[in-house]
């Protein structure tokens, strides 16, 4: 994550004839509405600065009218910024000649649109090959690259169909294939899944993440859906009224929202999708060791006020679980070896990164608490029903 692919510096976009005057007012800190009243100019983007690193998914999130789509279009100069710089691979795209701009658009950027923007008079194959036909590649190369891209998005066999014959999800796959066919370094996705219904949308998100794991493109992803932003983004930019309100990882945005605007947004997030087991587990205070006798275990349980205890080895790897009942029976028989009564704990353990919503089923199916382990089977924490509720409450999901 070291190479900077895109760098945006103090970017402004003002719509209207008197943009220079509006820009001056804006820099003085006059609110957008007042600028609109005075000059008739609308503020699209105001003083945006950020970097996009190679291979990351950067999500720009905001409500409609927040300037996120305008910001995206400044990156490939579909919209010309009023002031500021946009460096793409160290080239200031706001200054380059038209020829250079066209060559950059042909080779670096692949753009995906909200309402697909497919060409209705062209077949799926011709649509996917559009970028290559613009580059004047040979017909053979166009067909090959387009076909490869279509296969990548799972549309093999649909080459000769037209847009009108495809469902929304499939249309957007064509849109994605069209962008991928030119093998771009940067994908610009303008609310790409915004027009799809929820089930298809989730499916497309998963597939894009899967593709991205293989392709490692640099992706700038626009959305108005915070759930989507948190799911897709390595980092998230929150925008309001043309300004960037906060930049951070999904965790940072959730756990330390910078102002009330961000907090408002987060209130509506489904935390069960965002938080993982590690966020809601509690540290196990007392654990039993293999060499402990039943009386020791019973003592530890009494201290904790629990009716059972996790057993680990010297390296804190999880061995199993012992209930007070079984330990009591063993103590009565004056046996020392607890390995006889350890219950294997295969179904009741989860790894740190399991999403909270997937924990509910595990917890309902089991009487015992859930063990949270890392990849080496080391016990990291415990989840009981209460700790999930507490974890969600802390993050603001429930008013307690």
């Amino acid at each position: 994550m070291s190479n900077i692919k895109i760098e945006v510096k103090n970017l402004y976009k003002i719509f209207g004839h008197r943009s220079e005057e509006a820009l001056r007012l804006l820099k003085q800190g006059i609110p957008n509405e007042e600028i609109l009243d005075k000059t008739g100019c609308g503020v699209g983007v105001a003083d945006a600065s950020f970097k996009v690193y190679e291979g990351e998914v950067l999500v720009v999130m905001g409500l409609s009218g927040s300037g996120k789509s305008t910001l995206l279009r400044c990156i490939n100069r579909l919209i010309r910024p009023t002031a500021g710089k946009v460096f793409v691979k160290n080239e200031d795209i706001t200054e380059v000649s038209r020829e250079k701009l066209l060559s950059m658009r042909r080779n670096i950027f692949g753009m995906v649109f909200q309402r697909f923007a497919l060409f209705p008079h062209k077949t799926v194959l011709e649509n996917a090959g559009y970028g290559l036909s613009v580059k004047r590649e040979t017909k053979e190369k166009q067909r090959k690259s387009a076909q490869d891209a279509l296969e990548l998005v799972g549309l093999k066999g649909w080459e000769n169909s037209y847009q009108s014959q495809l469902s929304g999800g499939m249309q957007q796959r064509v849109g994605l294939a069209r962008a991928l066919a030119i093998n771009p370094e940067i994908l610009l996705m303008d609310e790409a899944f915004g027009a799809l219904d929820p089930l298809i949308r989730t499916e497309m998100q998963d597939e894009l993440l899967e593709l991205q794991a293989k392709m490692k493109k640099t992706i700038l992803f626009i959305t108005h859906d915070l759930d989507e932003a948190l799911k897709m983004g390595d980092r998230v930019i929150l925008m309001k009224d043309g300004r960037i309100v906060q930049i951070g990882t999904p965790e940072e945005i959730l756990t330390s929202p910078e102002n009330t605007y961000v907090r408002r947004f987060i209130e509506n997030v489904d935390f069960t999708k965002v938080l993982s087991a590690s966020d809601v587990m509690v540290k196990p205070k007392e654990v039993g060791f293999i060499k402990d006798g039943p009386v020791t275990l019973l003592h530890k349980m009494r201290m904790e006020g629990k009716s059972g205890i996790f057993i680990v080895d010297e390296e804190h790897k999880l061995k199993g679980y012992v209930t007070a009942e079984k330990a009591g029976e063993l103590a009565k028989k004056h046996e020392k070896d607890i390995s006889l009564i350890i219950e294997k704990y295969d179904k009741q353990k989860v790894t740190l990164d399991v999403q909270v919503r997937n924990l509910f089923k595990v917890i309902v199916d089991n009487r015992y608490p859930i063990a949270v382990i890392d990849d080496n089977n080391v016990l990291k924490g415990v989840i009981v029903k209460g700790s999930i509720i507490a974890g969600l409450a802390e993050s603001g999901e429930f008013d307690v």
């Binding site: 490939n76 579909l78 060559s103 950059m104 923007a117 559009y130």
Partner: protein
Amino acid sequence: MYRLPLGEWIDSGIDFLTLRFSAVTRGFSEIIDTMISLLINVLEFFPPWLLILIIGVIAWRIISIKGSILSMLGLGLIWNFGLWDPTVSTFALVITSTVIAVIVGLPLGIIAALNNKFYKLITPVLDFMQTMPAFVYLIPAIPFFGLGKVAAVFATVIFSIPPSIRFTALGIRQLPEELMEASDSFGATKMQKLINVQLPLAAPTIMGGINQTIMLALSMVVIAAMIGAGGLGGVVWRAIQRLRMGMGFEAGIAIVIIAMIFDRITQNIIKKNKG
């Protein structure tokens, strides 16, 4: 009271133009004249029944079997009236005028679509041209080209060109912005965008404009009989002068039949383009 001498200005302006550009108008006149005579000769080369059959086949391919039969019956009726020669002449005038109007109108429409200033400039001109009574165009045609078919074509082109320009401009302007952005985002040049995206997508609307142009041309060609265009309009004109009601009515029916065949054929080309 002072009277604005607009009429005098226009008269002297046209005098100036006829004198100054007589070489140009004469050249233009000869080209058009050759075009029309060639077309008439070709059309008259076929015996009427063969031409009717050919049009029937075209109508069958483009409209339907029903449209084809009706076209042939209609044309047969015209032949029966003894109006075949004037019909061929009208046909040739309409086709010549339309071809010229489209050749000039399409590029102007494209420029108007892509250039806002030109669009704002040409819109009121088009409005003016369409509201001006058709007869007025006949007058300047005479000093430029004299009485006859060329003057008729000139007046017809002026009268029928606005829809070709307007529909082309609108057809391109009204395309969804996102499609234009999609084309731009892949680095298409203006020419690539025009040829591969804008024109094919706007084709149905442009064809609608051409259809309108043909219809206007047909109505103007009839009116242009007053300056010696001949054809079916000439028959009507003679009927008016001699108060021959029956003759005028027959020629009128022939015009309606031709108009319907032209209209249905172009309409169905539009429909096929859309589907």
